[in-house]
């Protein structure tokens, strides 16, 4: 156990911090057009600046736009990005999930073609997994891709596809063999969202925004070269993505806790701040302990990666614990705020610009997005604890 950084790492941290002090994103908390640019354009600009500043995907190989740095440097950058409170990047899903998948499974040509543009934000990706009949039981998906010569012809529908309306490309799962057992007939395809035959319909969410979409495929032609991994072996490829997805979604909620504490110190009931209210005081400490546990747990997993230790069930719990904790924090805020918690964004009397109701909505999405908590528990029980299969 040694939590000290080397002098080089400390210097690197200073360098990153200084860069972030001099570079800020332009109004990414505002939707709509600002300074003549749409939100997507501004978000892409910011991602490009981060990339040019050397702050994205540090561990990727150099030939694909990475810097081949160790996971510790990546962790330093992640921490500094969280501390600077600049928010996520618009291409975060591709950097966090698709990139590592292509590095593991992609052809040389695919890596050269796609990885650099993932980093620069020139191409925004969406994840085409869920379907109307395939949610938690993802492997029962039915979007069909038939190989005709050098092309797949895709027909079917995806749903809950976050960001499909702004995406240039989709990484998705399609059925290429309807006769095989369900896990054996799936392939992993990269699909150009501008292809003829694709229709995207944004769905309005409970928070009033429209980030996730329905995507319809009507005889969409996809080159065979866009197949990742072997034909009908897409489930294996998807598993790589899902491991990275779990880690990506389970990130430490320290920043949210800090905001919650700020609110708790200001919020009074019967003249005392919530931090002195006997009930809320202990709820807050309880979450503080969980936030610290997740921070340290992430260090432990990072260390396993740096020192090439295999690890076991500890690798599987972050998504479940992190998202449930996020939800508990949101609920605590709502409980502290009372009637103020019911005020929507934009209402002049809303506290903290109405961020808490938005956080509450968002916390619900985290718990089912990327595999519900129940599915996480199935995985932990069966693969982590070796309990007999339930199905």
């Amino acid at each position: 156990m040694d939590l000290n950084l080397t002098p080089e790492e400390e210097a690197y941290r200073e360098q990153v911090r200084a860069w972030l002090a001099n570079n800020r994103p332009v109004a990414l908390h505002q939707r709509g057009v600002v300074d003549g640019k749409t939100w997507v354009e501004r978000a892409k600009d910011w991602q490009r600046r981060l990339y040019e500043g050397g702050l994205l995907a540090l561990s990727w190989p150099r030939e694909y736009g990475g810097q081949a740095l160790d996971p510790m440097r990546q962790a330093i950058v992640s921490e500094e990005l969280a501390r600077a409170n600049v928010g996520g990047v618009v291409g975060g899903n591709a950097i966090g999930m698709l990139g590592p998948t292509l590095i593991t499974w992609g052809t040389e040509e695919q890596k050269r073609r796609y990885l650099p543009k993932i980093l620069t934000g020139e191409e925004i990706w969406c994840q085409g997994y869920s379907e109307p009949g395939a949610g938690s039981d993802l492997a029962s998906l039915r979007t069909r891709a038939e190989l005709q010569g050098d092309e797949f012809v895709v027909n079917g529908q995806k749903v809950w596809t976050s960001g499909a309306h702004i995406a240039d490309m989709m990484f998705g799962l399609v059925r290429t063999n309807p006769d095989a057992p369900k896990h054996k007939g799936i392939s992993y395809l990269l699909i150009d969202m501008k292809s003829p035959g694709i229709t995207v319909r944004p769905l309005v969410q409970m928070n009033g925004e429209a980030d996730f979409c329905e995507v319809f495929f009507d005889n969409v032609r996809v080159p065979r070269a866009n197949l990742v991994g072997e034909l009908n072996e897409g489930w294996k490829v998807a598993n790589t993505t899902m491991v990275h997805e779990r880690n990506w979604l389970g990130a430490s909620p320290q920043r949210l806790f800090d905001k919650l504490m700020e609110r708790a110190r200001q919020q009074r009931r019967r003249g005392v701040p919530m931090t002195s209210d006997p009930l809320f005081r202990h709820r807050l400490v309880d979450m503080q302990i969980d936030v610290e546990a997740m921070r340290l747990h992430a260090l432990r997993l990072l260390s396993n990666a740096i020192h090439k230790r295999q690890g076991g069930v500890e690798n599987m719990v972050a998504k479940l614990v992190g998202t449930e904790l996020h939800h508990r924090m949101a609920l605590t805020a709502m409980d502290m705020l009372g009637d103020y918690g019911t005020l929507a964004r934009g209402e002049q009397s809303a506290l903290d610009r109405g961020v808490w109701s938005a956080t509450w909505f968002g916390s619900i999405a985290r718990m089912f997005g990327g595999g519900t908590s129940e599915i996480q528990k199935n995985v932990i029980a069966e693969r982590g604890l070796g309990m007999p299969k339930s199905r």
Partner: protein
């Protein structure tokens, strides 16, 4: 940066697991449970030979001079085995009291024996109020010539009936002057210990009466400032390590049982009601392990947040162990309620560990205060 155990610590851990599987099976534990003294002297001799009793004692006093993290790794395995006897309280908590508060002479007098396992010690803190708040510690140590005379009663003192010495928290003057700590030899005139019947039979705790116990001037520990807090830090980590190992074992027993017990024509472990329960328990245990490692490391490295880290670890692991042990018994159904099945050993030990050296409410409050709530 490496947030993890060293190769040596991994070896210490797996060596301890193997050793205890052979030397401290549940049959051995049950035999010691049935004995009045609860001491397991043969086992204690063997662990002393392995160096466990000198783990955190400095080399100049005959120990190995290792840290709290090394000790925590061992204590996790002791919790896993539900090891009976005074090891954690003597080689962990009493050794810490002397290291942190004792004079060189006091250390020289007792630490070599503790390290060799030839003597055991204990710490007497709480009283009838069952509180670690200094204001609730009232045992009197009135001045008597150049020395002191102790009067009062301590409760829940581990293995006091067999201890060669006790470190006793007391007050020279009533009021806010702060606490003092005194070394009292076992069998000193005026000291009587009575074993309190408790549900966790893998441990012995005592009521200790001090009736005009005369002490020389040099019985007083010189470094008393913040000693109570530092002892709470050490005790919290020591107990939390036991909680971690016990949680692991209880859940492991329940999961193994769920693989072989069949109902409705299939193993009960294939039912999601039990799968999800087990998943929730392990998802609480693993991050709590990270809290414990950090808390132990923070003490070894003298980090500023060592007290807060210790309280976080104890608050969380007390609760994790209690819940895991409860639910693990329930996963067994009727067989888990029998005396014959071993699961109740951990079920009861969890309840001992939960309040000892501060329950979750005490430690959460301490975290709140240390965090400036």
């Amino acid at each position: 940066m490496d947030f993890g155990l060293t190769d040596e610590q991994e070896q210490l851990k797996s060596g301890a697991r193997d050793f205890l599987a052979n030397e401290c099976s549940s049959a051995v534990v049950r035999k010691v449970m049935a004995e009045e003294s609860g001491l397991a002297p043969e086992l204690y001799k063997k662990i002393a030979e392995l160096g466990w009793t000198g783990m955190i004692i400095p080399e100049e006093f005959g120990g190995l001079g290792l840290g709290m993290l090394d000790l925590a790794v061992l204590l996790e395995e002791c919790g896993y085995a539900a090891m009976p006897g005074p090891f954690a309280f003597s080689a962990g908590i009493a050794a810490s009291a002397l290291k942190l508060g004792g004079s060189p002479q006091q250390c020289q007098r007792w630490l070599p024996g503790l390290a060799a396992g030839s003597v055991t010690g204990t710490v007497a803190m709480v009283e009838e109020s069952d509180s670690l708040d200094p204001a609730d510690i009232t045992l009197s140590a009135a001045r008597d010539g150049s020395g002191f005379v102790l009067n009062g009663v301590k409760l829940f003192v581990p293995y006091a009936h067999a201890a060669d010495f006790m470190v006793v928290a007391a007050r020279i003057n009533p009021g806010p002057d702060g606490l003092d700590f005194f070394l009292v030899e076992g069998g000193a005139s005026g000291v009587t210990s009575r074993i309190m019947r408790n549900v966790d039979q893998t441990r012995r705790i005592c009521e200790v009466k001090f009736d005009g116990v005369k002490l020389a001037q040099d019985a007083r520990l010189p470094n008393r400032a913040e000693l109570l807090d530092r002892l709470i830090d050490a005790g919290a980590v020591i107990m939390a390590a036991d909680c971690l190992g016990g949680s692991e074992r209880a859940l492991e027993m329940a999961v193994e049982y769920s693989k072989v017990r069949e109902q409705f024509g299939r193993p009960i472990g294939s039912f999601q009601a039990l799968q999800h329960l087990a998943a929730e328990l392990i998802a609480a245990i693993e991050p709590a392990r990270s809290l414990l490692w950090y808390a132990a490391y923070a003490q070894d490295a003298g980090l500023e947040d060592a007290s807060r880290a210790a309280s976080m670890a104890k608050a969380r692991l007390s609760a994790v162990y209690s819940r895991t042990a409860d639910q693990s018994v329930l996963m067994h159904g009727g067989i888990g309620f029998t005396w014959e099945h071993d699961i109740h050993l951990w079920f009861k030990r969890a309840r001992f560990d939960d309040p000892f050296f501060g329950d979750p409410v005490f430690h959460r409050e301490r975290v709140a205060v240390l965090s400036g709530y």
